[in-house]
Assembly symmetry: C2
Homo-oligomer: 309 residues x 2
């Protein structure tokens, strides 16, 4: 193993609405220490890790301000930054960010073992809806609360090339490919996925299948490791998919959470293993045919040639 | 079920080098009749169905001419066309085509129940190599024998929107997405996949997993049915993956071959079922972010921003 890295995914059980950030950060620190004892050099935490998944309620933006972070680290999260630096371990943390320009993004913040920011990713594919939809048992108003990002950057970090995505991003093949085209070797993905999908309940029993299917395919088709890390359990009465995983470039699951609560899973990976796929079947330079892909960037929705495309 | 269609996949056992086209067409007709008895309105046959998978040998193109078809139907295949028309059943047939312009394509020919051509698809992603590579136990010289196509067109046929792909095309997420962006509801895929992948034998035990993974992900991520139909068994000493399947827009396998020989599988599908996915989670117009996808068409191989992209 020539580019060995020990990775952890720190799955979280629910965070209720009245749970304080201090309590949450205490839980994160316990898992950080646990991961460090297991030899982890990098720990991925879930999407919106510091608060409850507040898009399940529709409220005026001003009333939701307290769910967003204005700076990072802040007084609540500084103990996490400090402990990680003390342990010499990097981490990725998901939270809602309210920028100085007033923009609201669902972000994933990657921090190196020295406590320095590597990158802050802004979620691109915002699911759900913007208006209040009273027919739903609970809301999924992410499009009310967040502006979409428009890039999947990668960074040289942890001895390899690392990218990030959040939740719904993982269902879109473009997410993996855009990073694959930058040579990504490890993609960290935090998610919150309610088991009940109101627009089509026939999908409910398939949530765990779909979750692994898309991440395994994205890993294989781009020759990259993928870490998917969830919140699980009943949060404010809504049950979320746990099923956190670490996936190899083969698409095989090499570590998997088995509870729906706070749980650390770990895997030692070899970033050089990505070359098996990147230099053979998925040698992009040799085999891709961009001329055939034009619709992917030239159109957003469905259109036939007769529709003027 | 408002747009019901009964589909068959007619998997084939091996076709040896000295097997005549007459013998092959007899086998195809037996499966066509079998599928028709099961109520099928459309039968998908494999890639390069009429001959052995000749890219396993590297020979001068002129010596390989007899593996290509110059017109279709021709005197060998006319009985298949005639029987299909008599039964009122459509079909898709894979073969090597030598055009009047001298171009050589690996094609998939879709024929309607009246014996009329719906479309002829030219394989886009040509795997393997162009030069003779003597270190291999057998060659995979498709890049010597075939010019790549550069489009994934769809057609209105069989009550829905139908697209095609061949073998290696199925491993590329762009294949499904380009057709998904044209509203495809059913993708037919013929394939020949040797179990031994010489450039990286660690992939050998994963062939069946990868085969289903990519087709299930492509179906789910685009809300389309997918039919994957193989040649299986030992052909000229080379063992091929069978594992033909019919996959629903949920990504679930709804019919699967269990042998490695000639075998017909059938499923009655409802093309309207595609709407469950196309109008919810994968409502492209609502959720896609093409600005984030530019690399997919602007670059072919891996490049970082610093590389001038």
């Amino acid at each position: 193993m020539s580019r060995s890295l020990t990775l952890a995914a720190a799955q979280m059980g629910p965070v209720q609405r009245d749970t304080s950030r201090d309590e949450v950060v205490d839980r994160l620190i316990v898992m950080l220490q646990d991961a460090s004892e297991l030899g982890a050099e990098l720990v991925a935490f879930p999407e919106l890790a510091l608060t409850t998944f507040f898009p399940r309620w529709h409220m005026p933006l001003e009333e939701a301000d307290h769910f967003y972070e204005r700076e990072m680290p802040n007084r609540y999260t500084k103990p996490l930054w400090d402990e990680a630096r003390r342990l010499g371990i990097g981490f990725a943390l998901g939270y809602a960010r309210l920028g100085e320009n007033g923009q609201r993004h669902n972000v994933y913040h990657l921090v190196d073992p020295h406590g320095e920011t590597v990158n802050v990713f802004e979620k691109v594919h915002i699911p759900g809806h913007a208006e209040h939809e009273p027919w739903r048992q609970f809301q999924h108003a992410e499009r009310h609360y967040f502006t979409p990002g428009d890039d999947f950057p990668v960074s040289e970090a942890f001895g390899g090339i690392v990218g990030m995505a959040l939740c719904n991003d993982r269902r879109w093949s473009e997410t993996y490919r855009v990073m694959g085209l930058q040579g990504v070797e490890l993609i960290l993905i935090g998610y919150n996925t309610p088991l009940a999908y109101a627009p089509d309940p026939t999908q409910n029993p398939l949530q765990a299948f779909h979750n692994h299917l898309v991440m395994q395919a994205g890993a294989y088709q781009n020759g990259t490791y993928v870490v998917g890390v969830a919140k699980g359990g009943f949060e404010e009465g809504v049950e979320s998919l746990a099923q956190s995983v670490i996936i190899a470039p083969s698409g095989q699951i090499i570590a998997q959470a088995i509870t729906t609560g706070d749980e650390v899973i770990v895997a030692r990976i070899d970033l050089d293993h990505t070359r098996f796929y990147k230099t053979t079947l998925f040698d992009f330079e040799r085999y891709r045919v961009p001329a055939a892909y034009r619709r992917i960037t030239e159109q957003r929705g469905v259109a036939r040639s007769g529709d003027g495309v």
